[in-house]
């Protein structure tokens, strides 16, 4: 195909959009609606993910040091701990420091009157992990280090968090999948209508020896433009809606229970742009491509 024809093909595709003004409008509106739901869902999942991740970070493992070790010996274990691959950070906490915070938390409790910190409280390392799903394995490794007496780790909580994440993941994939299929069908139908409208032209093109690709391209362009226009409108609407919602919620959320990632935060922004562009492209191009196949026989 020569490059000079590309202009003609693209022009034909765009002409088609205006020729089928109402259907095109309907297709764009439905695409926008579907993508908005997909987008909102992605935003929600993204935020919940970030919150879960943050909470999970606070799920630390405590490694208690053998009483018989001197302060210096106890501290030196830190380097050994840090050699474990899954360890993100190991912070040494002196027994006096640990006692202080214990007193802070339970100071008024008469049950602890007369307790000697020297014999009750041990030096410890507060260990945060790279991946909490491997908490059990890492705790075992920590336990096997000489000089470490006992390890406290909340596997159940870690497992709970990873379950939440997995469920969210599956649910979002399912919802997004269904919505994409809906938009796909709608665009596909629009393009099918456009093709039906021009079936005589298509028949003539085939008769004079136009290749299938050449016949198809204007319709794919039409689907592509519809999909992209839908994606763009949905993206900016999503942005506005997201900001409005976050603003409302922040006012209500005086306890700071939620922390929202701003829409313009690079990672979220990139995810959203990628989602919308990919969805628009997918819906537009695949939608038109599949609808054309029926018309291409003979």
């Amino acid at each position: 195909m020569k490059l000079t024809n590309l202009g003609y093909l693209i022009k034909e595709g765009i002409r088609g959009i205006f020729l089928h003004g109402f259907m095109s409008l309907a297709a764009v509106v439905v695409t926008v609606a579907c993508l908005l739901i997909v987008g909102s869902f992605s935003c929600l999942v993204y935020n919940v993910n970030v919150m879960v991740e943050d909470l999970n970070k606070t799920n630390e493992v405590l490694a208690f040091v053998d009483d018989s070790l001197t302060d210096a010996e106890a501290r030196s274990i830190g380097t050994v701990i840090n050699q474990i691959p899954n360890v993100h950070k190991a912070e040494f906490v002196h027994r006096d420091k640990a006692w202080e915070s214990f007193v802070e938390d339970h100071g008024n409790d008469p049950a602890f009157d007369g307790v000697d910190p020297k014999t009750t409280i041990r030096h410890r390392f507060v260990v945060t992990l790279e991946d909490n799903e491997l908490m059990k394995e890492t705790a075992a490794q920590l336990e096997s280090i000489t000089g470490i007496d006992k390890v406290n780790a909340a596997y159940e909580i870690a497992r709970g968090f990873s379950t939440i994440k997995n469920v969210l993941h599956i649910a979002s994939v399912a919802v997004i999948g269904v919505l994409l299929v809906v938009s796909l069908l709608i665009i596909s139908n629009t393009v099918k209508l456009a093709m039906y409208d021009r079936k005589d032209e298509i028949a003539i093109m085939k008769m004079v020896g136009a290749t299938n690709g050449f016949i198809r391209l204007p319709f794919v362009v039409e689907g592509f433009v519809l999909g992209m226009v839908g994606a763009m409108i949905a993206f900016f609407l999503e942005w506005a809606m997201y900001n409005a919602l976050v603003e409302k919620l922040t006012v209500v959320d005086t306890l700071h229970l939620f922390s929202f990632v701003p829409f313009t935060q690079p990672e979220l922004m990139q995810t959203m742009v990628a989602t919308f562009v990919a969805a628009g492209l997918f819906v537009g191009v695949v939608g038109s491509w599949t609808s054309i196949r029926k018309f291409m026989d003979v």
Partner: protein, 226 residues
């Protein structure tokens, strides 16, 4: 060149449209294809354009073997064969000029080539003064000329006309036939399907007559009987 060798064609449920057709039309030849309704004429045309595949036998058209042509080769075969239909199949929303240009655009011609070629072809068929009109503003004969112009514009080596004069009065029919003969004189192979015995006899060209899916007469004396 078009060559049929012992071609049969059966449609799905036992309709034997062709029952062993053999014939050969050389480059530059002019031939009439005649026969009663349902005898298999349109089936022959569809076999030539690759719209149908033969049930058995071989069909060669301008270097392509239709019985084993690949799908993606069919467009290129069709560029060598221009087809004119009885019902014209023009695009009413496009002007005369654009109807012809459309056929060139469909195969990726450049705009500059189109601007040169379309007026030349319109002049050849006598529509040079009506290029801005739409098909609905043309007479039947003019519409047929337009259909011929479109079939001709991509410079095919062969033109096939299926009942090109079916809708026209005798005088217009004669004009169209003369035009087809003129085009043939310029070197294009011409196969014309018709019912009009008067016209066939008048032109004195080769006549291939088929009946019930078989060739029953093939001669160059412009005469046939069924």
């Amino acid at each position: 060149m078009i060559a049929f060798s012992d071609v049969t064609k059966s449609y799905s449920v036992g309709t034997h449209a062709l029952r062993g057709v053999s014939m050969q039309i050389e480059d530059g030849e002019f031939a009439f294809l005649v026969g009663p309704s349902g005898s298999g004429k349109s089936t022959i045309i569809k076999l030539i354009t690759g719209e149908l595949k033969p049930t058995s036998g071989t069909v060669h058209v301008n270097g392509y073997s239709l019985e084993r042509i690949r799908r993606r080769e069919i467009p290129y075969l069709r560029r060598t064969v221009g087809v004119v239909f009885q019902d014209f199949r023009l695009i009413d929303t496009k002007s005369v000029y654009d109807n012809v240009a459309f056929a060139m655009r469909a195969i990726g011609a450049r705009e500059r080539e189109i601007r040169e070629r379309v007026p030349y072809i319109l002049e050849l068929v006598g529509l040079e003064n009506k290029s801005r009109r739409h098909p609905t503003e043309l007479s039947g004969g003019e519409q047929q000329r337009l259909a011929i112009a479109r079939a001709l514009v991509n410079n095919p080596s062969t033109i096939i006309a299926d009942e090109p004069t079916g809708n026209l009065d005798p005088a217009r029919s004669l004009e169209i036939m003369s035009l087809l003969q003129e085009i043939n004189n310029l070197g294009t192979t011409m196969l014309v399907v018709t019912h009009e015995r008067d016209l066939v006899e008048r032109f004195g060209k080769r006549v291939i007559a088929i009946d019930e899916g078989l060739v029953v007469h093939d001669g160059t004396d412009g005469y046939y009987r069924l």
